[in-house]
């Protein structure tokens, strides 16, 4: 017992040291700001004058008296559910399909599918396509084909703009977990596949479920974290497409709600409380998914 104390202390030192370099930045630039945000959520702060304490008022108002919050929560969940799993799935399928192709095309296809994420704010191009104008790409095509008689205001008409946003978000979300999957697929153990073929696996789909997926649990987890954080954090894309705020808040998301109160209405306290709520939701989702993916691996 005595002997192990000395060496174990030393061992800890090395661990803490290696961890410490990064940890300093983490605390200062991430944890403390998060802490400050949480503190602010209990105050009334308009950025220019000193904040004053209001207790749980912000939270009460947010959860009980804010219609727009409810709407944005609903929208965010809908977006997340539709684009999260679907985007995740599509990312994975594409990664898997690309893996099936020949060595030569693979790099090219990888770059191609990852490009939306690299190219910055290229998604603005979608505004040309869905433009409200009768000369907008989609409108003019449909008008020409006789399907439409008058142009549709894709981005401002609440009957349509929600779906437009979903399409574009899907487009953007394909790249998120994509890289992790590609890398993971490359690193699978070949021998397992061979022995599986002998054992009676007959097509690629069975192989996927029984062999591929369980080996990729780490990558799937990373993919899940990324997907959750990006699909819940959706805000820039709907704003760029349908305006901020969108007509009757039809594509309003939690992030936009936070930004609205933070930057436009200058009520930082309230915005911070919304951010905390958002955070709690994301953490809850993470727990659920975490359990799910780990059980996949146990199969």
């Amino acid at each position: 017992m005595k002997k192990t104390k000395r060496p174990s202390l030393l061992k800890y030192t090395e661990s803490y040291l290696m961890l410490g370099f990064w940890f300093v930045f983490f605390v200062f630039f991430t944890l403390i700001p998060i802490g400050i945000s949480v503190v602010i959520s209990f105050t009334d702060y308009n950025m220019l004058q000193t904040p004053h304490f209001v207790g749980f008022n912000n939270y009460i108002r947010l959860l009980l008296d804010d219609e727009i919050f409810v709407k944005s929560l609903a929208n965010t969940l809908l977006f997340a559910v539709i684009t999260g799993p679907v985007g995740y799935l599509i990312s994975f399928i594409i990664a898997w399909f690309i893996n099936e192709t020949g060595r030569g095309i693979r790099p090219f296809l990888t770059v191609l599918f990852y490009s939306p994420s690299i190219a910055g704010s290229i998604y603005v191009v979608w505004t040309y396509i869905f433009s409200d104008d009768s000369y907008g790409l989609l409108n003019s095509t449909l008008l020409n084909m006789g399907i439409l008689k008058k142009p549709i205001q894709w981005l401002t008409d609440t009957n349509y703009n929600f779906y437009v946003v979903i399409v574009v978000i899907l487009w953007m979300s394909m790249g998120t977990s994509f890289l992790a999957f590609i890398a993971g697929l490359q690193s699978l153990n070949k021998s397992l596949f061979e022995s599986a073929a002998i054992d009676g696996i007959r097509n690629r789909w069975q192989e996927l479920w029984y062999i591929t997926l369980p080996q990729m649990v780490p990558q799937l987890l990373i993919g899940a974290v990324l997907t959750i954080s990006t699909s819940f954090a959706v805000g820039a894309v709907p704003a760029a497409l349908t305006g901020n705020p969108s007509t009757d808040y039809s594509t309003h998301t939690l992030i936009l709600h936070i930004e609205d109160y933070g930057n436009t209405r200058l009520e930082m306290g309230y915005a911070s409380s919304a951010a905390v709520i958002l955070f709690i939701i994301m953490v809850a989702t993470w727990f659920v998914i975490n359990k799910g993916v780990r059980s996949l691996g146990k199969d």
């Binding site: 061992k11 800890y12 090395e14 661990s15 803490y16 290696m18 961890l19 990064w22 930045f25 983490f26 200062f28 630039f29 991430t30 944890l31 700001p33 400050i36 594409i94 399909f97 099936e100 790099p107 296809l109 770059v111 599918f113 490009s115 939306p116 690299i118 190219a119 910055g120 290229i122 998604y123 191009v125 040309y128 104008d133 000369y135 907008g136 003019s140 487009w171 890289l179 992790a180 890398a183 490359q186 690193s187 596949f193 007959r202 097509n203 690629r204 780490p218 987890l221 990373i222 954080s229 819940f232 954090a233 936070i258 933070g262 930082m268 915005a271 951010a275 955070f279 953490v283 993470w286």
Partner: protein
């Protein structure tokens, strides 16, 4: 062998190819569009609906960038240097710090380890829009604003990289590490000589992601001095002069797109290569 792949039917192959084709077109379209816009003369840029093909392609927009820069007080080389320096410095430092921190988190046992694990995951989930203001306030009070530090340090606080590398190191076989320790290696030695080289795909991936994210950052919120500004900011300043500069704006977004694309293309083959040959033993 006649069959290159196991269990692959032609029907299945066709499904794969068709799917990829459709998705590929869907993905690439907006990017293609941005590229051709850079080569359109002013008269074609304003056409509505926008054209898919350039009728009179020209390099003038790019030449204009140089011409406009000739009148600047700060030479263009400085902006390029700033952007490259910040992106590279952030990437190098962050990759190093993140890997170094990920190792003990994945392979050691020390008090607080589980707690820090949780912190790391949760921090990824907290939206960055809200932390922007407190970060700004902190940097301002410590006098970091308007320096290179203001551009580099906040990125170093991200926990995403640590999380990513942590998973990969976690999969690394423990017996190799034990062997090295028995041989008398310090933990630092184990890390540098054994673990780090082996998880190359992980940190190469991280490097690409970090570089791309930082390249596109404009840093406008924290930098006021002209000579410290980044390339995207300078480009935006030029185009803010008005519609006259619309052609230049298109050329600018095209150029800004190139380094991330190129670095991705180059390092991507690296990743695949390494994967193919590294052979994680089982």
């Amino acid at each position: 062998m006649k069959q290159n792949k196991l269990n692959r039917s032609t029907g299945g192959n066709i499904v794969v190819i068709l799917f990829l084709l459709i998705m590929g077109l869907f993905t690439a379209f907006p990017i293609y569009f941005s590229i051709i816009n850079a080569f359109k003369p002013l008269s074609e840029l304003y056409l509505f609906p926008p054209r898919f093909v350039v009728y009179n392609p020209t390099f003038n927009n790019f030449k204009d960038i140089i011409a406009l820069q000739s009148q600047a007080t700060v030479p263009m080389e400085r902006y390029i240097f700033n952007t490259v320096f910040v992106a590279v410095a952030t990437t190098v430092i962050y990759v190093f710090l993140a890997c170094l921190a990920a190792y003990p988190l994945a392979k050691h046992n020390f008090p607080g380890k589980e707690f820090i694990h949780k912190l790391i995951v949760f921090a990824i989930l907290f939206s960055t829009q809200v932390t922007a203001l407190p970060q700004y306030l902190l940097m301002s009070k410590t006098g970091m604003l308007d320096t290179y530090c203001a551009l580099i340090f906040p990125a170093l606080g991200s926990s995403f990289g640590v999380f990513l590398v942590m998973q990969f190191i976690g999969a690394f076989p423990d017996d190799v590490i034990e062997a090295a320790r028995i041989d008398g290696c310090s933990e630092f030695g184990v890390f540098f000589k054994i673990v780090f080289p082996s998880v190359k795909p992980a940190w190469v991936t991280l490097a690409i992601l970090t570089f791309i994210a930082n390249w596109n950052a404009t840093g406008t919120q924290v930098i006021f001095t002209e000579s410290l500004k980044l390339l995207p900011t300078m480009m935006n300043q030029i185009t803010a002069a008005g519609i006259d500069r619309a052609g230049v704006a298109a050329a600018v977004s095209f150029i800004l797109m190139i380094p991330p694309m190129v670095s991705f293309i180059l390092s991507q083959s690296q990743v695949v290569e390494t994967m193919a040959y590294s052979g994680i033993k089982e």
